[in-house]
Symmetry: C2
Subunit: 196 residues, 2 copies
């Protein structure tokens, strides 16, 4: 790709990311995204297809970044708390990702890039199942459920921040409170999954 095409695509995707995270796919338009990028709407359609396809592109890009940051690999899975901590840290640093996932769930449409995402999650399940067989993790819970629930412990803070505020009475953005919540997530993940 020529440099200017790459640059245009990047600007369009950045604008789409901001719009989708803020308002959700139903809450924005292709025209608005193009306008935010300062680029002609026709090029947005040409490069990314329709709004649903663009949303999928943005979401899967973000999930790829998350996956790279918090990979589970069974031989390295000495501590499930570490996976929970990395998931928490990633969401804290990228609060838009939880928003994109929630918008996707609320939209109720088809799952974007479902096959590849499913394969990715199933890799995590295999890693956890292997750790359960090795006695590194408790095996009472189904490994898929365990992955899902560890993600819940880490991501719930960024999904219902109002609930976290009413319960803790604290400011989520304060470094002390963030560290406190992170420590609770790590401890909870360990209690949930450590062998007994």
């Amino acid at each position: 790709m020529a440099w200017d095409t790459q640059e245009t695509r990047r600007r369009l995707k950045d604008a789409a990311f901001i719009e989708f995270a803020e308002r959700g796919p139903a809450g924005t338009t292709m025209a608005r995204i193009a306008e935010r990028a300062g680029i002609n709407k026709e090029r947005l359609y040409n490069y990314f297809g329709d709004k649903q396809a663009l949303f999928e592109t943005v979401l899967t890009d973000e999930l790829d970044k998350l996956a790279a940051a918090v990979a589970i690999d069974s031989p390295g899975l000495k501590d499930i708390g570490e996976f929970a901590a990395r998931t928490f840290d990633y969401h804290a640093a990228h609060p838009q990702l939880a928003r994109l996932l929630l918008w996707e769930g609320l939209g109720g449409g088809p799952i974007g890039d479902e096959q590849r995402r499913t394969a990715h999650y199933q890799d995590k399940v295999k890693g956890v199942a292997a750790a359960q067989r090795d006695g590194v993790l408790d095996d009472a819970l189904d490994p898929a459920d365990l992955v899902f629930l560890i993600i819940a412990l880490a991501a719930w803070w960024f999904s219902v921040p109002q609930l976290a505020h009413m319960l803790t009475g604290a400011d989520a953005d304060h470094p002390k409170e963030r560290a406190r919540r992170r420590a609770s997530v790590v401890l909870a993940a360990q209690q949930l999954a450590a062998p007994r």
Copy 2:
């Protein structure tokens, strides 16, 4: 209130509940809600104020129903799994509630009816703290965090159903799968919070 006023209010609130759960407050209008109820828009404004006030009314009504269904009372808190199970069952039977909470969080506006809701959550925290002192629950986790994380285990399934589907490969609406997920939530809550 005269019967017809009560009936009109009920119809307006029902219509608002459906619209808000489906599209979120930003995704619908007062005109649309009034039209769904088949009642004049002026009466909607007269009875409930503006859209934000109406959303708060709908949400707090639903939360009151949840609170009545899944009360925690410390002397009765013999099993945290029971609280998790009731929370899961309530969300399964009323999937709109999780949607309303997620819309509220995504909207990022002021928390509706914050004082009363905070008092309600703090009652739960007190119940858990008492159970921790009594040795009924593990006291390693802060009681507010424990309440928050037990809710996470139960409600996450209804918040990112697409993620649950990719991980479990199963249909959330099938009674067997629902029972399986419920059992995992109960077990997870017990492992998280049972004294060791």
